[in-house]
Symmetry: C2
Subunit: 452 residues, 2 copies
Amino acid sequence: MIVCKFGGTSVASATQIQKVANIVKDNTARRIVVVSAPGKRSSEDIKVTDLLIDLADTALANADVAAKIQTVVNRYEDITAELGLGKDISEVIAQDLRDRVAGDRSNKELFVDSIKASGEDNNAKVIAAYFNTIGVPARYVSPKDLLIVNDLPERTFAVAEAYERLAVLAQSEEVIVFPGFFGYTKDGILRTFDRGGSDITGSILAAAVGAELYENFTDVDCVFSANPKVVNNPAEIKEITYREMRELSYAGFSVFHDEALMPVFKKDIPVNIKNTNNPSAPGTRVVPTRELTGRPVTGISVDSGFSTLYVSKYLMNREIGFGRKLLQILEDEGISYEHTPSGLDDISIIMRSNQLNLEKEERIVKRVQQELQVDNVYFRHGFSMVVLVGEGMRNSTGLAGRAALAISKLGVNIEMINQGSSEVSLVFGVQQNYEDIILKALYEEFFSAVPV
Amino acid sequence: MIVCKFGGTSVASATQIQKVANIVKDNTARRIVVVSAPGKRSSEDIKVTDLLIDLADTALANADVAAKIQTVVNRYEDITAELGLGKDISEVIAQDLRDRVAGDRSNKELFVDSIKASGEDNNAKVIAAYFNTIGVPARYVSPKDLLIVNDLPERTFAVAEAYERLAVLAQSEEVIVFPGFFGYTKDGILRTFDRGGSDITGSILAAAVGAELYENFTDVDCVFSANPKVVNNPAEIKEITYREMRELSYAGFSVFHDEALMPVFKKDIPVNIKNTNNPSAPGTRVVPTRELTGRPVTGISVDSGFSTLYVSKYLMNREIGFGRKLLQILEDEGISYEHTPSGLDDISIIMRSNQLNLEKEERIVKRVQQELQVDNVYFRHGFSMVVLVGEGMRNSTGLAGRAALAISKLGVNIEMINQGSSEVSLVFGVQQNYEDIILKALYEEFFSAVPV
């Protein structure tokens, strides 16, 4: 059994949905189809999700929503008319939207969530209806009472019971069409996944039914070894381990959200990232383990927006508890960090800059000064992390040296190097403005040069 | 005013003490002389401190101590006779030892400390007496009521009041001869410094009197840029910053104990490491700041005996508080750590192996598994840390690459690289058995090659 998920551009129009139907028909193992809301049909188009956010905002402003609802319904009608589905389903969608707008507004965020989630929910109804008209027995299934999520205020995740309940879907005679992006609490409150969206729904379902494969259909043929916007024609990745994927998705590899991998990762279910517009392309397989190729580096990613908190104190490394107390101060501010390179008497804590503001920084600096009696403490901003990832790096001597030399040939200083004791990744911290030339140089070094 | 400290080999014999006297006479700014106990006169000799430990053990075993006391007294008599000091001082030393042996044994450690410390104390009396015979007005000063240290059980350090009290020594008309290695609590209990010994006494005195210079006399001409037992004729270090010295003394540079630098470091007092046997050699100056030379690396040190605790968990870096909780577990076992290189989903904590044993390791692994729900956790042993140190490294691009390549040319894997965001050091973790060939290769790269 295969669970397949189709992203926004894969279900944006009748033509696209017809491609989806062909893909599902092509392999009878594809029994569960997770769908997103209709995405953009062209770069100037507006996603249904954005229309829905606009509708929710209008409702919360107590302005007239009729026209906004009609805009959304029209968008679906463009699809249903071309698919030959008739007018009934438009009325179902219009009524659904009116019901949601009339819903509980006591928690504004949940109200907006409910309206946003209609994008996936109604699209699943449309696609299930269409499948039936072309001879694919299909059934829309609501996440309600199945995909159970935790209560507020923690961010949304599927509770253990969700997996038990969703397992019944494996028994269905019909193809299941399931909306991505949201679940319901035990009390029936709709909550959306804030990260990974429909990817995570597909991953949860694949894990719940014990799928042999989770296919993630998007609009690219594969995952590339480097950002194609920076590097010309980067190598395609045929096979990649969960761990490599996770380390790459850290920075710049947005094809598949890393948190979405968790449910399938735990069950060792392979993932195939494929292109709805070119389904015969093999795509990229994400697997628990893989055979090593001659190439030690699988991919190179870059992400900007990092800051460092630098702290120095004479004899720091003799002071038991120093690092722990320092991390506690950051934790008290709700800040997560990425790396902590250290000398004997100094440590740099690297974190994403978007967690900081001037007040927080001042509070942290003051506390570090007062509570830890340090010699020096300050923030620095504007760093990028360049990450080389590859299972083959573990046993490859000279790789760090080659990478560092390739960077330094550019005349660029390496601010930070971090390589752990059992790593499939090597991280360089550099000044943000050099990230593109560094990515190009590293790609050249590890992918274009004569293979070692 | 100069405070000068003479190590064990510098005061091991009459000939050596005569050299000390000449050094003190040579510069009238040398007003305070801190002395160690007589050290070895040859490689087969026994240090007075070791004779005293034997005496203390004999006393604690309630065996006859007379012969042991005589051995110590004889050792001093070899010196005093040659210095022409007469027999009186031998009786002073013998009586002092009998008094100490008859002292309080309720705390065995303090009893041993008291006997051990007599080595420095009596040698200071001998040297002060000798100075007076050669026309250098001098006075032995006891640390009692001056060098006040903290109470048990924390390890020994000078309390703030010690600096105030010791400041009066600046006013002395006579040269002060002060024993190194110990102080007294407010209640008059003798306690020894467990690390840095006489070096730290000299540093405290230099800070207390606001000396212009702290001279640390030992038996080498200077600090070398690498261990001369491994590298042939390593370059001499003429000038080095506190910080470089500290990072180097971490591993293999035992000339001057890093904790001993603290008091002078806080007062920006320069230190000159010199050779009693070759006082005209300029030695190595340890200074707050220095001008950069063309050489980015000042020294390379290596130290073995490190272990790593490897921990991996999917999505670790999203978990606020993970690192802090992990460090807390180590802290609960009283373990201090050196570095924490990390990937996204894993972290290695590097620590000195001598803090571990099988039981501790099992407890730690079990707690990490249970409390942090990790995917993987284990210890690895047998690592060395290779540290490149230099103020010039901060602005030197390509250095990390050069170093990593020099290591990888040996076919040796680099287990860990750690470079911070504002560093004067670069740390490589390697397998212990390769440390010598790596030191040689790095020395070759940064000191023997054509300067960059």
